[in-house]
């Protein structure tokens, strides 16, 4: 059977890639080793968070699926960082792990042009340096492009104490033959490592000794298609380890897989095991943990903060030393997992292999970590595989346009030495990359590609109109007889000439609530009001950032043709020549971010480009 596109793996990257390509009209085959682990939340039962919440909003704005499913399975929703500035407001939900899987599986099943099938891919079929299909056990599947989204399943091993399990996460099968096949095709594989804590039985937790954590009263949906959410707020619980816990861990630390030398892979610094924390920060008297519900239909709880690869017995022992956990019962032990991944610098910004055409990579195989990071890559790989087959230019989101752009550019241009997690501090232009304006930034692109539908586009246009109308309305003058008594009442200095509404809103001691009391609000929807307020209050900062963006754009807009032979450009330093030749950057901006390429090299390239342009001009 022939397909347009085959997607290998149905985790968070794979499902977005498959849905995007199928929705764009391609005949798609989505292969997974286990239909029951589609979109598995293998670690935290939660979606979003700092940086990650931005990714989900962006995926949604482009027409992806993650936000929609998350909205359907919310157990608790929280906007984080509300006091720390609008650019870092980050949405996070607790998700029902089982329903998340079910809902996503159903969407896949109902999607036209999409075949969903359980099978282990053992080989890529590559002809003339082009990916043309895959082999599964006993079958061959042909396609025009292949997207690899294998997650943590490649040659994975799990570690619990000195036990080494030949398996994927959660006791699922791993895949060894595809790893070997990738190596045969010349891909160098690396080992990364991550870990997860034990799941415990909720019936045996003494909640009185823990602090409940509730969600927001007025939850905001992830998806721009949803106005509101309806669900029953479910608490998480906060607790702490203590000196007794730490002693148990310290006394047994030699038994941890992390310290036994079994694990060769590189772990992420932002995802330390409890062994790591105690070892590296010996003077801390307690470490916090959050109990997160795994779903409404289960008592299983995820113990965030206590990731461990100690032997099961020790895990039970140290957990039971925690207040509230005296009668703890582990349902699944924590473990560390190690898996194969590629060095993402072998990819172009469209996530295609530079050596093998029509072969795309997305998700954890690229060295990233996290559901949201994976989904974002899956979506972009899907869109770009489609555009490639259509003979169109790829959709490259830049660092000033989306967190997704930062994510992909960081991975592909800088590479990563550890599982890569999105953080707001990675985004230079985050004042313009807010979660509230993701649709303004991206829905246009999604619509143009054909993924964001009419409804989504219309809603975005409506919000834009509302925004503009409101900005215009704010230009109106306010009579002194209205504003001055109000200011006096608040103990603020009075004004001597009539201000515009916008001038009042810009003041740090005024906001929309004040406007409402003054009867100065129009019929602008609340979500748009919030945006307007940010844009008005922080105009100076946003403009400052926009100027930086403009400068950044100067280089970003200068494309580097594919056929440049950098080794021949004498005036580049040798190191720069080699790096540029190997990485073949898309544009001068990307080139400038490659380590070993200096500002002088960029100037030389600028002149080289101009020279080349003039040559072409005279010859045509």
């Amino acid at each position: 059977m022939n397909y347009d596109i085959i997607v290998v793996g149905a985790g968070h990257a794979g499902v977005e890639a498959a849905l995007a390509t199928a929705r764009l009209g391609n005949k798609v085959l989505l292969l997974t080793m286990n239909l029951d682990s589609i979109s598995l939340l293998a670690c935290n039962p939660s979606i979003g968070g700092t940086g990650k919440g931005h990714l989900v909003r962006e995926i949604d704005a482009l027409g992806g699926e993650m936000g929609l499913i998350a909205d359907k399975v919310t157990l608790q929703s929280k906007m984080l960082n509300t006091a720390k500035g609008p650019a870092v407001h980050s949405l996070r939900i607790q998700a029902d792990k089982y329903k998340y899987h079910q809902e996503m599986k159903k969407v896949l099943e109902e999607q036209d042009n999409l075949d969903l099938r359980q099978a282990e891919v053992t080989e890529l079929i590559i002809e003339d340096k082009k990916a043309v299909g895959v082999k599964t056990l006993g079958l061959e599947w042909r396609a025009k492009a292949v997207i690899l989204a294998t997650g943590t399943y490649l040659r994975s091993q799990c570690f619990i104490g000195d036990e080494v399990l030949d398996s994927g996460p959660s006791g699922l099968y791993n895949s060894k033959r595809l790893s070997e096949n990738l190596e045969k095709h010349g891909f160098e594989l690396r080992r990364f490592k991550t870990g997860t804590p034990a799941r415990i039985h909720g019936k045996y937790v003494n909640y009185d000794k823990l602090i409940p954590q509730w969600g927001d009263k007025k939850p905001i949906p992830f998806s721009f298609l949803n106005d509101s959410l309806d669900f029953e707020d479910t608490p998480c619980y906060l607790g702490y380890s203590n000196l007794a816990t730490h002693k148990i861990i310290r006394d047994n630390i030699h038994l941890s897989a992390m310290y036994s030398g079994n694990i060769k892979g590189t772990g992420a610094r932002y995802c330390p095991s409890i062994e790591d924390k105690i070892n590296r920060f010996a003077d801390k008297e307690r470490h916090q943990l959050f109990l997160e519900p795994e779903g409404r239909g289960t008592h299983e709880l995820y113990v965030q903060g206590m990731s461990s690869s100690l032997p099961e017995k020790v895990q039970e022992e140290f957990l039971s030393s925690i207040e509230g956990f005296e009668n703890v019962k582990i349902m699944r032990p924590g473990y560390a997992i190690e898996y194969d991944c590629i060095d993402p610098t072998i990819l172009t910004l469209s996530l295609e292999s530079r050596d093998i055409e029509n072969l795309f990579f997305a998700g954890q195989i690229n060295g990233s970590s996290g559901y949201e990071e994976a989904a974002a890559q899956g979506l972009m790989a899907g869109i770009n595989a489609h555009l490639k087959l259509q003979g169109k230019d790829p959709l490259i989101l830049h660092r000033d346009q989306a967190y997704i752009g930062v994510l992909v550019d960081d991975l592909v241009t800088k590479g990563t030495n550890e599982p890569f997690r999105m953080m707001t501090s990675r985004a230079e232009y985050r004042l313009v990359l807010r979660q509230d304006n993701a649709d303004f930034r991206l829905t246009g692109f999604g619509y143009e590609v054909g993924l964001a539908g009419e409804e989504r586009y219309r809603l975005m246009q409506k919000r834009k109109e509302d925004f503009n109308t409101e900005m215009e309305r704010l230009e109106k003058l306010v009579p002194l007889s209205l504003i001055n008594p109000y200011l006096e009442e608040k103990g603020l200095g009075i004004l001597h000439s009539s201000p515009k509404i916008i001038t009042i809103l810009r003041r740090s001691d005024m906001n929309y609530q004040d406007l409402e009391k003054l009867g100065l609000t129009g019929d602008c929807p609340e979500d748009v009001q919030a945006m307007v307020e940010i844009e008005v209050k922080y105009k100076g900062y946003i403009e400052k950032q926009m100027r930086q963006v403009e400068q950044f754009r100067n280089l970003e807009d200068k494309l580097l043709p594919r056929d440049i032979n950098y080794l021949d450009i004498d005036n580049l330093r040798i190191e720069a020549r080699q790096k540029l030749q190997a990485m073949a950057p898309d544009n001068l901006g990307q080139a400038s971010r490659i380590s070993g390429v200096s500002p002088a090299d960029i100037t030389v390239l600028l002149i080289y480009l101009e020279k080349r342009r003039r040559r072409e001009q005279t010859s045509s």
């Binding site: 700092t50 924390k277 400052k544 005036n571 030389v604």
Partner: protein, 450 residues
């Protein structure tokens, strides 16, 4: 497109040099600082006039405006011919930078000329080579110029800033960790310290420029008090006479000397009255100008004459300047009123000498050193000298001030971070390194992560 500027002539000891501007804002910048003919009205014409910084007079210049595209870079350009030597050139350049121009990168005028189609294809190779060579050279120079001490100092400031960035990053990227958010108070304290350090570096950079370009020292006083003798005595005494320039434009006599490593440009206004007697008025004016532009003034009195009204007036004018009063001819009859002198001039600024007998010269040298270098600057302290570095330092200071005003307004972390990062990055450019590993810092300092 930004507007760039640079000194495009050698900084060596030439009497005339050119500051060149290129880019869309060239004319508007020039118009703000140049008083004289109408540049815009008559392009490609050499206008006589003066460069001012607000009310402060900087140099007497000839300026010309070239309108795009018929220029070297095919952009609007302005060239300012300065007459006042290296110091004046630097001042005019600084002024252009203050007014919004950016210091040109090495070879950037040529680069723009090429990119804007001014140079033909055959020249491209040469342009690339030129830029390669110039840039490498300037980086080398920049690195060697930035001594170990200064790198260390700036490194320390960046360390502070990186800590703050890590603190902010921790607060925004890990909102639910068991770590306290970095407080406004500690941010404010740290940024105040950064501001202090930056200001000290900048203050020293002025002294650094003195060391590089020389302290403009004007010898002033009524006729026949011994000004020329002082000039000769100081230059005769100094071991290294660098050069002497008989100024052609201003009819002052300049002499370069060094006092124990401190370069001085001695300017004797003595000749003015005597040689230009017929144009008395002009002479006074020029002497006045020289005083205005001086970094340091040596005012000479004669002990055998009473203080004149003119002396008193002039000494009053010196109140806010760096100066010394030298009472010469103490070997003669003392008729100067010392109490009166003391009432106008601080006692520690008054020195007594008999220049003709070579008495008191060492004391004068000591006092000059004390008054210039001695103030807050030992030669062991870090100095920043190069214009680009000073520019970056100033930029860092602006970011720092902005951050402090944000802190004052209790702005959110989000916005604070923009300015603190800007400060950090400007200093990074100074050291030629950037890409802060903020996350690395967070993970090494704090125990966070699920």
């Amino acid at each position: 497109m930004s507007t760039i500027c640079a000194i495009s002539t050698s900084l060596a000891e030439a009497a005339i040099g050119i500051v060149r501007l290129s880019g869309p804002a060239s004319l508007s910048i020039a118009k703000r600082i140049f008083r004289g003919g109408d540049l815009e009205e008559r392009p490609r014409y050499l206008h006589y006039g003066h460069i001012h910084r607000g009310e402060e007079w900087i140099d007497e210049v000839l300026a010309v405006y070239f309108k795009a595209p018929l220029t070297y870079t095919r952009e609007d350009m302005v060239e300012i011919n300065c007459h006042g030597g290296a110091m004046a050139l630097q001042r005019v350049l600084s002024l252009c930078l203050e007014e919004g121009a950016r210091l040109a990168d090495p070879g950037e005028f040529t680069q723009r000329a090429f990119l804007n189609g001014r140079l033909d294809l055959t020249q491209a190779e040469a342009v690339m080579q030129l830029i390669r060579a110039k840039t490498d050279l300037s980086y080398d120079v920049a690195l060697t110029h930035l001594g170990g001490d200064i790198s260390k100092k700036i490194g320390e400031i960046r360390e502070i800033l990186l800590g703050l960035l890590a603190g902010i990053s921790l607060a925004v990227d890990y909102p639910e960790e068991d770590e306290e958010d970095i407080s406004f108070e500690s941010l404010t304290l740290a940024m105040q310290r950064v501001r202090e350090e930056l200001m000290r570096l900048l203050e020293n950079s002025k002294k650094g420029k003195l060391l590089e370009e020389g302290l403009r020292t004007v010898i002033s006083g009524r006729p026949n008090v011994g000004k020329s003798t002082l000039l000769n005595a100081l230059s005769g005494h100094s071991r290294a006479i660098v050069t002497d320039i008989a100024g052609t434009t201003r009819d002052t006599i300049e002499e370069r000397i060094q006092i124990r490593g401190l370069p001085l440009i001695l300017i004797d206004t003595a000749g003015l009255r005597e040689t230009l007697d017929p144009v008395e008025h002009l002479g006074v004016e020029r002497s006045h100008e020289a005083m205005q532009r001086a970094d340091f003034i040596l005012y000479v009195l004669s002990a055998d004459e009473a203080l004149s009204e003119e002396d008193i007036q002039r000494l009053e004018l010196l109140k806010n300047r760096e100066y010394l009063v030298i009472v010469n001819k103490i070997d003669k009859n003392i008729s100067i009123d010392r109490d009166k002198l003391n009432s106008i001039v601080d006692q520690d600024k008054i020195l007594f000498a008999s220049l003709i007998k070579e008495q008191g010269i060492i004391a004068i040298e000591e006092a000059i050193l004390e008054r210039t270098l001695g103030k807050g600057l030992s030669l062991g302290e870090p100095l920043i000298q190069n214009q680009r570095q000073i520019g970056l330092l100033k930029e860092a200071l602006v970011w720092c001030e902005d951050a402090l005003s944000d802190l004052n307004l209790r702005e959110a972390y989000d916005y604070l971070e923009v300015n603190i990062k800007g400060c950090y990055e400007s200093l990074g450019l100074l050291l030629g390194e950037n890409n802060p590993d903020i996350m690395g810092e967070v993970f090494s300092r704090f125990c966070v992560g699920k």
